[in-house]
């Protein structure tokens, strides 16, 4: 009997140990992480999607030997002679087409240029706003002139280089990491907070002695854990699949991704400070993220936008983050040489946190 009682007590104690609460900050952070990890879609968008994106874009823009420049020759008595001349260049793939077909091929981008032989002269049809057409014109002209007997005056030799760090995928990976940090920071915080507010969970927490700073800090901590994982997922994949290398120090990369993660968490908190509905916060979030997706140089350099827009573009937090990440990863630059974008990022981080905490509503 006494023994049986003892067993009961032991069982009871074992149960107690399991149901013991930890520090509120730990419990809140664990709840955050559980909620996230049990949401399959969120896991997909944060971890799987960026890897798929790296893979797809890395494949699409992989560096193989440059493709031959497609050229159309309008059918004419001189067409075959022209085709002969052009076939001397290994970089040109010429086809003879009827004038209508040639014009159609040019319009649809199947050929970069159309060559129209007129007696012993040539006429080039091309669109000067297309970079590959301008290149094609130079190439075709060079081949035709030489074929017709022009001789080169200076001797030149080509020395070509292709090294990791200069490929599109090398440009892309830091940008994708930046974009991912923005997305997960904004959605991860903004959405979760507004859902908690709309379900009156925030109000319920406000009715407990919970420290409000613990609630907000728990988001930072869980973000930090996931940030390490999501950055690592892209980096490891890019390294294995495309031979991507980080040239700068890992410590700097870690510091900057951390800063980036916190900055976008701060912006996410700011976005989520007031809205009470998912629709409200979604609109606000798209309004903030869309310009940065387009302008901040994730997929192509933001330097391509007009000069007047540059001060605005450079002041965006994602532009700053992308620029620093590229400098660190691709060029092996130091943190100190990137103090301007770092200062921009820090400013966004501090300002958005301060405002968010000021205007944050618990109900």
């Amino acid at each position: 009997m006494a023994e049986a009682n003892q067993t009961l007590v032991n069982q009871h104690e074992a149960k107690n140990a399991k149901s013991q609460s930890l520090h509120p900050l730990v419990e809140l952070t664990l709840t955050r992480m559980r909620e996230f990890l049990r949401e399959k879609e969120a896991v997909f968008w944060v971890f799987v999607f960026p890897v798929l994106m790296t893979f797809a874009l890395g494949i699409a823009f992989r560096n193989t030997a440059p493709d031959k420049t497609p050229v159309a020759i309008e059918a004419d008595s001189k067409a075959s002679e022209t085709a002969n001349l052009l076939s001397r260049s290994p970089d040109i793939m010429a086809t003879v087409l009827s004038p209508e077909q040639a014009a159609q091929a040019l319009r649809s981008g199947k050929v970069a240029i159309v060559v129209k032989p007129i007696n012993d002269a040539y006429e080039y049809h091309f669109d000067p706003t297309r970079p590959e057409s301008r290149t094609a014109r130079l190439l075709v002209d060079d081949v035709l002139q030489r074929g017709k007997g022009r001789s080169d005056v200076a001797k030149v030799g080509d020395e070509t280089i292709t090294e990791p760090g200069a490929r599109y995928v090398d440009f892309l990976v830091p940008g994708l990491i930046g974009m991912n940090l923005m997305g997960s920071g904004l959605w991860g915080l903004g959405f979760t907070v507004v859902i908690a507010r709309s379900r009156k969970i925030l109000k319920r927490f406000a009715a407990t002695p919970m420290r409000r700073s613990h609630y907000l800090l728990s988001f930072m901590l869980s973000r930090l854990v996931f940030l390490v994982l999501e950055v690592a997922a892209v980096l490891i994949f890019a390294t294995l699949a495309f031979g991507f290398t980080v040239r700068g120090s890992w410590l700097s990369v870690a510091l900057i991704t951390g800063l980036g993660g916190f900055t976008f968490s701060g912006i996410g908190l700011l976005v989520a400070a007031r809205p009470t509905t998912i629709e409200g916060v979604s609109g606000l979030m798209n309004f903030i993220m869309l310009p940065m997706w387009l302008l901040s140089g994730t997929f192509f350099s933001s330097a391509r936008f007009p000069q007047v827009l540059q001060p605005f573009i450079q002041a965006l937090p994602l532009t700053a983050l992308n620029n620093i990440l590229r400098a660190l990863m691709n060029e092996g630059a130091s943190l100190s040489s990137n103090w301007i974008p770092i200062a921009i990022l820090l400013a966004w981080c501090v300002v958005s946190f301060v405002i968010a905490l000021k205007i944050f509503k618990w109900q």
Partner: protein
């Protein structure tokens, strides 16, 4: 009898853009009692409770809770001592019952063991089940468990059984009664008169932000001066005055086609009512009688039904 006061508010006023939700409310809740705020939807019950819980600031009036006031620098300490269940809280669905309670437990310095609370609200079988998979009654029991986890002195329950089926309601009443029996103080709002009658030591009936009656359920029903209600409808409308003159009739109330007579002695009132209907050359269509309830108190005070809102 000099009872200790757990909660007191005086002259409470809360205005929103175009309505005055609470309009000069005075309340006193004694230690160890279950006090009910009964009233239709929109009577100002939830606003009142949220002011008392320190979640909504009032425009006028004072609140004293366990001898303390909100916003006097010790809100955290006060929150340690109260348990709150809000009407519309939907707890996170992806976490389990025990995880939810562990989280709430972690906010308090002292309180029940988590499994103890799970036992109190009889959710042992759902201990490791996700909140999203719980039934309405189970969710509500979990919400009450979150309020009980700190072993509070004062428990606020805002419409704890609204939308629950009778079985789930009974099991929630059980929990409330046990808490009350262990010496806890409860302030609960409801628009179910059975709930107020069954659970509450005293009831305040609220309408349009004001208290219109206060007392034990028995006192309130007695105040009708009647123990039976006769409800009937007839083929041809009756004159009111002769009905009021009938013996043992205290009150007449008409709602659409239905007449409701509050009577002291049904044995006396009923035969004379039938005679009067005949005299006025009308005929009975329906007739029912029932024991007077808090609902009838509300009807006699406001002319409306509780559930009409």
């Amino acid at each position: 009898m000099n009872q200790r006061v757990a909660l007191r508010c005086a002259g409470l006023v809360k205005r929103f853009a175009d309505v005055t939700a609470v309009n000069g409310l005075d309340l006193e809740v004694f230690v160890g009692e279950c006090f009910g705020l009964l009233g239709p939807n929109g009577a100002g019950k939830t606003t009142t409770v949220e002011i008392l819980e320190g979640l909504t600031p009032s425009d006028e009036g004072t609140v004293e809770l366990l001898g303390q006031h909100w916003n006097s620098g010790n809100d955290q300490a006060l929150r340690e001592r109260i348990g709150v269940q809000l009407q519309e809280t939907q707890l996170a669905e992806k976490v389990t019952v025990v995880e939810t309670l562990r989280l709430f437990r972690s906010f308090y310095k002292r309180g029940h063991d988590v499994d103890e609370v799970i036992h109190i609200v009889a959710l042992e079988e759902k201990r490791n089940g996700r909140v999203g998979k719980l039934s309405g009654g189970q969710k509500q029991r979990l919400a009450v468990a979150c309020a009980l986890v700190s072993d509070p002195e004062l428990l606020f329950l805002d419409e704890p059984t609204t939308g629950l089926d009778p079985q789930a309601r009974l099991s929630l009443w059980d929990i409330v009664e046990k808490f009350r029996a262990s010496g806890g103080t409860i302030l609960l709002t409801t628009h179910y008169m059975e709930e107020a009658t069954r659970l509450c030591d005293r009831v305040a009936i609220m309408d349009h932000g004001k208290m219109i009656a206060l007392g034990t359920p028995a006192e309130l029903i007695d105040s009708l001066g009647a123990d039976q209600i006769i409800e009937f409808s007839v083929t041809k409308p009756l004159d009111d005055d002769p009905l009021m003159q009938l013996p043992a009739v205290n009150h007449l109330h008409k709602r659409g086609e239905v007449y409701a007579l509050t009577v002291a002695e049904i044995g006396v009132a009923l035969p004379s009512l039938l005679a009067e209907i005949k005299r006025q050359q009308s005929e009975l269509v329906t007739l029912t009688t029932h024991q007077a309830t808090l609902e009838d108190v509300f009807v006699s005070l406001t002319g409306r039904m509780l559930r009409d809102g």
